[in-house]
């Protein structure tokens, strides 16, 4: 499976993790190109159905990251998000969907290094888990 290149989508919050990724850039820190970012105003805005859409359309892994609790721009969006993820992970696990394919984290605007490590670690883990073909095959009827 060494030549398998995972496709990973990162849902991040604009004020903290997106800015953290910018900092990784300004520091010219290199990390795996397998992850592409989609910007949200806050982690509170990330809808669990978007994660399902990402998997359904070919993503092998997902990163969801935002402001650390208490270090928030909007004062409570990340708290609500955390509570939603706890329940969502419980449901995915109960349905037998491998929760290791979704990596949750807090990355602040000052943690450029942490963003690079997070991406590399997630890319490596998803590479070991291999393509999420089981889920992609579910597409059933429809354009193929």
């Amino acid at each position: 499976m060494s030549d398998f290149e995972p496709k990973i989508v990162a849902f991040v919050c604009n004020w903290c993790t997106y800015a953290g990724a910018d900092l990784t850039g300004t520091n010219r820190m290199k990390y795996s190109p397998r992850v592409t970012i989609i910007r949200f105003p806050c982690t509170g805005r990330i809808d669990f159905m978007l994660l399902l859409k990402a998997f359904a359309n070919g993503a092998d892994g997902i990163i969801v990251s935002g402001c650390h609790p208490n270090d928030y721009h909007y004062s409570s969006g990340n708290f609500h998000a955390r509570r939603r993820w706890i329940v969502f992970r419980g449901l995915l696990d109960f349905l037998g969907i491998d929760v290791r394919r979704v990596q949750f984290s807090w990355v602040s605007a000052a943690e450029g290094a942490k963003w690079a490590q997070l991406v590399d670690a997630t890319a490596e883990q998803i590479r070991q888990l291999g393509p999420f073909s089981g889920y992609h095959k579910l597409r059933g009827a429809g354009v193929e």
Partner: protein
């Protein structure tokens, strides 16, 4: 059952309510009991109550056609009472919209006129999952992920996307459900594996912290998918992580729209 009938006759005669929603004789042994809407004192005779009367009648409180008939007295099983409290917590039911006729296993009828009295009545009940439900749920939790994936794959394969589960559930009262939204198309319309999975995940998530485990969704499912397992799993997750139990108070914040600074986050890097 006699006390129930007298109570209904008395309420209708004195016009305190315009209608009594209760259980009547069903057609054949497949459906021994069905919901009846008594609007005249004379018809109170057809009210029955026995072990087969399980349906959560609170679902009719949210149907516009029933609401416009005026104030109703509802023959309420324990889960129906908890549903009324949860609906009140979500601003759907006001204090004097209805009169609940709480009825327990022995057929004892206690009228509860206000949400306050319903709350007190519910507080005395044991709202945990029954021992049987717990062991069954545990049986699935104990499986390894691949076995669970296989199990649900087979179960969801039978789903016809008929949405009977949505119709039976008293807490599914949205005028336009997200399933009907096509800009963007959140849930695939066809009943293929992906569509069925995404529908069931959405339904379970939308009931997290709200479902009172009345079991009507599973009873309504024509192909017998054990939907109650999903709700019970999330019910216990919400209780374990946030120490929150739905349908216990008329004025309660929803588990998913509130938070505690120290919610568990061991899975977050």
């Amino acid at each position: 059952m006699e006390t129930l009938r007298n109570k209904a006759r008395e309420l209708l005669a004195s016009k305190t309510v315009q209608m009594v929603i209760g259980y009547g004789r069903g057609s054949g042994e497949a459906a021994p009991a069905r919901a009846v809407f008594i609007r005249a004192a004379a018809e109170a005779e057809s009210l029955i109550f026995d072990a087969s009367c399980q349906q959560n009648l609170a679902v009719y409180l949210m149907k516009p056609e029933v609401r416009q008939l005026g104030k109703a007295a509802l023959v309420a099983t324990p889960s129906a009472l908890r549903t009324i409290l949860q609906l009140a917590a979500e601003n759907q039911v006001k204090d004097h919209d209805l009169l609940a006729l709480a009825v327990d296993a022995q057929g004892e009828v206690t009228p509860l006129a206000t949400l306050q009295t319903i709350e007190a009545h519910v507080a005395a009940l044991d709202c945990n999952l029954s021992a049987g439900e717990k062991t069954e749920l545990q049986k699935y939790v104990a499986l390894d992920p691949e076995q669970r994936r296989q199990f649900w794959q087979e179960e969801f394969a039978r789903c016809l996307k008929c949405y009977a589960c949505r119709g039976a559930c008293p807490l599914c009262y949205c005028s336009r459900c997200t399933v009907e939204c096509n800009q963007p198309q959140w849930i695939p319309v066809p009943a293929h594996d992906l569509g069925n999975l995404e529908w069931n995940v959405m339904r379970a998530m939308h009931l997290a912290g709200r479902c009172v485990n009345c079991g009507d969704c599973s009873r309504a499912c024509p192909v017998g998918i054990p939907l109650y397992l999903l709700n019970q799993r999330l019910l216990s997750e919400v209780l374990a992580n946030f120490n929150f139990r739905s349908g216990m108070a008329a004025k309660a914040d929803n588990a998913m729209s509130t938070f505690k600074p120290d919610d568990p986050e061991d899975f977050i890097r």
